[in-house]
């Protein structure tokens, strides 16, 4: 059985590939015409974070596999406390109070909160007797993911808070009714249609559909009440979306959404980043301008290029080939993690690994989507690629913990059968 408790080579290989692309891109985005080497500056730091990660990975592999399961709630509670601490003593960077200064380093607890929450969710869902049928259990699940999300929103970092919605995928996978997901999609649909066409037109549209529906089904009296109810709910939702949008959302949030929906063109203000980002990626062509040769990257036209907009550098210098390859590698990595989740023998491990995969999925979708104008600008990093110590460390620990769980899956079999 010795041979089977080894780290998953495919995941590790994909991890290293993605990290390498990241380090190279950070180097290109930050080094001024090769003013320093890969080992200096931000790319050097990025490498250092991966070094630390590798060290922590080894530590994780030396731990007993059950350690995590036993202490999962401690992780969660500790990290939630850290989120509260941040609110009190956190340093204000770019308008968000989400950093804690430790000596010369700043750490961002919200990046680690996902890790802790994954433990809590895995622990909660795998505990005996928990069911999606029970309202109390549902409230517990909601509470476990809403608590960090709300704390992070209070820090002023809405983007990072949205990441916790990826746990809904986990819940769905574990038995949550798909109605929630469908409802979520319907809400998004109504939201978009309302903003694009306006609440009034939406309501008229709904009424027209209702009339047509009624004309075909008027013989069936049973359908009348529910269909009217749905229509009224839809109209009410649309109205509240309109209200929410005009009265609750802040100006910059409104603009980001409007720019994404192509409702306004604002290439200097809210749309500046996306516009420059699209130009940088679009100008890369099929094979790119060559490593370190991206004129848009070198010109610092895109703010936060080494962090949230790192994909621009890949797209500009590596062209379609490299940007597609990067996406493909990330998708493959996520799929592999899903595979690891599915082959876990313990529910706790399955849910934990599945959470990790879903979080990376969400990051990939939102981060790349915003750089190519398919998503609103939500400031979250591209996992393992974007520059940033907290993000790199948090994801690495997360991944190594998952790999450790996978490596020891056969022991679970033994413990189950023994």
């Amino acid at each position: 059985m010795e041979s089977k408790s080894r780290i998953d080579i495919i995941s590790l290989f994909l991890f290293i590939c993605i990290a390498a692309i990241g380090v190279a891109s950070v180097y290109s985005a930050t080094s001024e015409q090769g003013a320093y080497t890969l080992l200096e500056g931000r790319s050097g730091k990025q490498l250092m974070w991966f070094g630390v990660s590798a060290f922590l990975g080894i530590v994780i592999f030396l731990l007993n596999a059950n350690f995590f399961e036993v202490f999962s709630w401690y992780f969660y509670v500790a990290l939630m406390l850290l989120l509260v601490v941040v609110l009190v003593i956190g340093a204000d960077i770019n308008g968000a109070r989400s950093w804690i200064r430790v000596g010369s380093f700043s750490i961002q607890p919200s990046e680690f909160a996902k890790y802790g929450t994954a433990f809590a969710v895995a622990s909660l869902l795998s505990s005996i007797g928990v069911s999606f049928e029970k309202r109390n259990d549902l409230l517990k699940m909601l509470g476990v993911i809403l608590l960090p999300a709300i704390l992070i929103i209070l820090q002023g970092d809405t983007g990072s808070a949205l990441v916790f919605s990826s746990f809904v995928l986990v819940f769905y996978r574990e038995g949550l009714t798909p109605l929630i997901l469908i409802l979520g999609l319907v809400v998004v649909f109504i939201f978009v249609v309302t903003l694009v066409y306006g609440g009034v037109y939406f309501s008229i549209g709904v009424l027209v559909i209702l009339l047509v529906f009624y004309a075909f089904t008027y013989t069936n009296k049973n359908l009348l009440v529910p269909s009217i109810t749905i229509a009224v709910l839809a109209i009410l939702l649309s109205m509240s979306v309109q209200f929410l949008f005009t009265n609750i959302l802040q100006e910059h949030q409104k603009k980001r959404i409007q720019v994404t929906l192509n409702l306004i063109e604002d290439n200097r203000g809210a749309g500046y980043n996306v516009n420059q980002s699209k130009i940088a990626i679009g100008s890369g062509g099929a094979t790119g301008k060559g490593f370190l040769n991206g004129s848009h990257t070198k010109g610092n036209f895109i703010p936060e290029q080494e962090t949230d907009f790192i994909f621009c550098t890949i797209g500009e210098e590596g062209g379609w080939v490299m940007s597609s390859l990067t996406i493909a590698l990330l998708v493959a990595f996520i799929l592999r993690l899903y595979h690891l989740a599915s082959r876990a023998k313990k529910k706790f491990k399955r849910i934990f690994i599945f959470s990790l995969a879903s979080i990376i999925f969400f990051h990939l979708m939102v981060n790349v989507g915003m750089t190519i104008g398919l998503m609103p600008v939500i400031g979250i990093p591209l996992p393992l690629v974007s520059y940033g110590g907290s993000s790199i460390l948090a994801f690495s620990i997360f991944i190594f913990t998952a790999l450790k769980m996978d490596a020891t899956r056969d022991e679970d079999l033994i413990s189950i059968y023994s």
């Binding site: 769905y172 100008s283 099929a286 010109g299 379609w320 996406i327 398919l374």
Partner: protein, 621 residues
């Protein structure tokens, strides 16, 4: 069931991956709009200015050279932020208010992503700012060539540069110039602009958000090296020019000296003149209004722009025409009682022997002789009437290049005055005028105006015994086979060569025994003619025309000194000193003439009322 659900999630993931890759295919490969935009945003073209051609004198002494001027530029002024304004102002020696004012202006005038923040920054300031430029993102220098001068001399010949004006910009055919480029405005800078300017090059490079250079585009494959302008060799002898300027110090007047065999101008002086360095790009703003407000008109190029009645210097020409037309012969004598009687009018002459030969009439400048000559020409039987006779006289003058521009390569040339018969028709009525009405033309007064250049060209034509080459100030353009063709075409005077001898003898007599003998030069045979030009506004203008040596002319010269007195007192000595300076620079005689030279240098003939309005800094003395 849950495996089923996991499958949906995998599918969603794959779908997102495929959508994103297809979206990337669209914006990266299928749509090249973004590549175009990216280049527009980050690619810059910069003009590389060539070295403007240098200007040398005929002895290959460097006269005009280039000096860089630095314009402090600001790229994308709207993006300017995060610079330490305080220390920037301190380095630039401006206050915060001026900074804001300049920035506001720069924002308004931004052109092709850049605008001027401060023009003509001094060398010292340039060095100081350049050193710390990296701190002030967005600021950069544009270097252009201004002119500087080895001598405070020849300003009118050289001309100056200036920013190209809107009209020229619009009219240009090849689209060579851009807004803000310099071109020659006056003098040879203007006439030889096409040779001097060279060909601009260009450089392509990437810039960042602040417009800072981020390296060349395609390793400079598209860059074009500038081609330097052609050097110019003037026909001007800068030493002679300076000497003449010294003699005309504190005088209003002009000297033009020409090499007769070639038409090359050796010196072209208009006094007062300004220091050419005061009129370069950096300084002209400061000095222009001073020059405009100076009542002695230092910008006005008297040598080519001011028409003076030639006075008695015209007599040799009149004699040549009389001989050629048959009004007089070599042996014609006229008696002069000291005046010429015209009906009830008396035209005064001055004391000299009663009977006058042709030669003596020139040497002693007898008005009566020329009144008679003119009268007999106007009444020759071959002419049906006065108008026909006048036209014939006018034709002779036109062959000397009078009444029309000679086409010299110096700005502001005026054609002079030589009236059409219709002028007299209007004045007196058709066929109602005769020689009597225009008799003063015979001794160079009346409706006749010659620029000093035309006067010198007449001297040159007489020296050549019947021809001239159009005068010009450029001897050679480096890299070009010849100067403009029009300066190489010989122009013939409508007087046969044989008729020149008696006139030249008379002119030689002037410096031996006549009006110019007082300032004769030992060892050089000079043929000359003095003139004292009546000036209704003040003292007479002193004029002189000469060439030397008589038998092998090397220099022809005309001198006018305004409001000074007799031709023999001022113009003749200046001409003789210059002739000597040119022909015998090392002559021992120089010391014996020191008195004359000192007198010319030190006399101030500028009317007193003008003197206090002159600004010495303009002249650079």
């Amino acid at each position: 069931m849950n495996n089923h659900r996991a499958g949906y999630i995998y599918l969603a993931l794959l779908l997102i991956g495929v959508i994103y890759i297809l979206r990337l295919l669209q914006i990266q490969v299928l749509d090249d709009k973004y590549a175009v935009i990216a280049e527009k945003i980050s690619l810059r073209r910069q003009t590389v200015y060539p070295q403007r051609g240098l200007i040398f004198d005929r002895e290959k002494n460097l006269v005009v050279y280039n000096e860089p001027v630095y314009d402090l530029m600001l790229s994308l002024p709207i993006r300017l932020k995060g610079i330490d304004t305080g220390s920037f102002c301190e380095i630039l020696e401006i206050d915060r208010r001026e900074f804001d004012k300049r920035l506001a202006k720069a924002k308004k005038r931004s052109y092709r992503g850049k605008s001027v923040f401060k023009k003509n920054v001094s060398n010292i300031l340039y060095a100081r700012v350049q050193e710390r430029l990296y701190e002030f993102k967005g600021f950069f220098f544009e270097i252009r060539q201004d002119r500087n001068y080895k001598y405070n001399s020849a300003a009118h010949v050289l001309g100056y540069l200036g920013e190209i004006n809107r009209n020229q910009l619009k009219k240009q055919e090849e689209g060579y110039y851009e807004q803000g480029d310099y071109n020659g405005k006056k003098g040879v800078e203007r006439f030889y602009e096409d040779y001097l300017r060279g060909v601009k090059g260009e450089k392509y490079f990437y810039v960042d958000k602040f417009g800072v250079n981020k390296g060349s585009y395609k390793e400079g494959k598209l860059d074009v090296e500038p081609i330097d302008g052609n050097n110019l060799f003037l026909s001007i002898d800068i030493d002679l020019q300076q000497y003449g300027e010294l003699l005309l110090n504190n005088k209003m007047g002009s000297v033009v000296a020409i090499e007769p065999q070639t038409g090359e101008v050796l010196a072209l002086i208009s006094s007062p003149f300004y220091n050419p360095a005061n009129f370069n790009i950096q300084n002209r703003g400061k000095f222009y209004s001073k020059a405009i407000n100076d009542p002695t008109k230092p910008i006005f190029n008297r040598a080519v722009s001011a028409p003076y009645p030639p006075g008695s210097t015209f007599k040799p020409v009149m004699a040549l025409i009389g001989l050629e037309d048959g009004a007089i012969s070599e042996n014609t004598h006229f008696g002069c009682p000291g005046y010429y009687k015209l009906g009830r009018r008396i035209i005064k002459c001055h004391e000299h022997t009663y009977s006058t030969s042709l030669q003596r009439s020139i040497a002693s400048s007898c008005n009566t002789y020329y009144c008679n000559t003119f009268k007999s020409m106007m009444q020759l039987d071959k002419y049906a009437n006065t108008e026909e006779a006048y036209n014939s006289w006018r034709n002779y003058l036109q062959s000397f290049g009078l009444g029309a521009k000679l086409g010299v390569d110096v700005s502001g040339e005026f054609k002079g005055w030589l009236m059409d018969p219709s002028f007299y028709d209007k004045m007196h009525g058709k066929d109602r005028w005769s020689y009597a009405n225009i008799i003063s033309l015979s001794f160079g007064q009346g409706e006749l105006g010659l620029t000093p250049l035309q006067m010198a060209n007449v001297a040159s034509s007489i020296a050549n015994r019947g021809y001239y080459f159009p005068p010009h100030v450029v001897k050679q353009i480096e890299g070009i086979e010849s100067i403009p063709q029009k300066y190489l075409i010989k122009k013939h005077i409508k007087v046969s060569p044989s008729n020149f001898s008696p006139v030249i003898e008379g002119m030689f007599e002037v410096t031996k025994t006549g009006t110019g003998s007082g300032v004769a030069i030992k060892g050089i045979d000079i043929a000359g003619k003095t003139g004292t030009v009546q000036n209704p506004h003040g003292k007479n203008h002193s004029a002189y025309m000469a060439f030397a040596p008589v038998n092998d002319p090397k220099i022809a010269i005309a001198v006018v000194v305004e409001e000074s007195g007799y031709g023999a007192t001022w113009a003749a000595p200046i001409a003789h000193l210059m002739i000597e300076h040119y022909l015998q620079p090392d002559s021992v005689e120089v010391s014996s003439r020191e008195y004359l030279e000192t007198k010319m240098k030190n006399s101030n003939l500028i009317p007193v009322k003008y003197r206090e309005l002159q600004d010495a800094s303009l002249y650079g003395k």
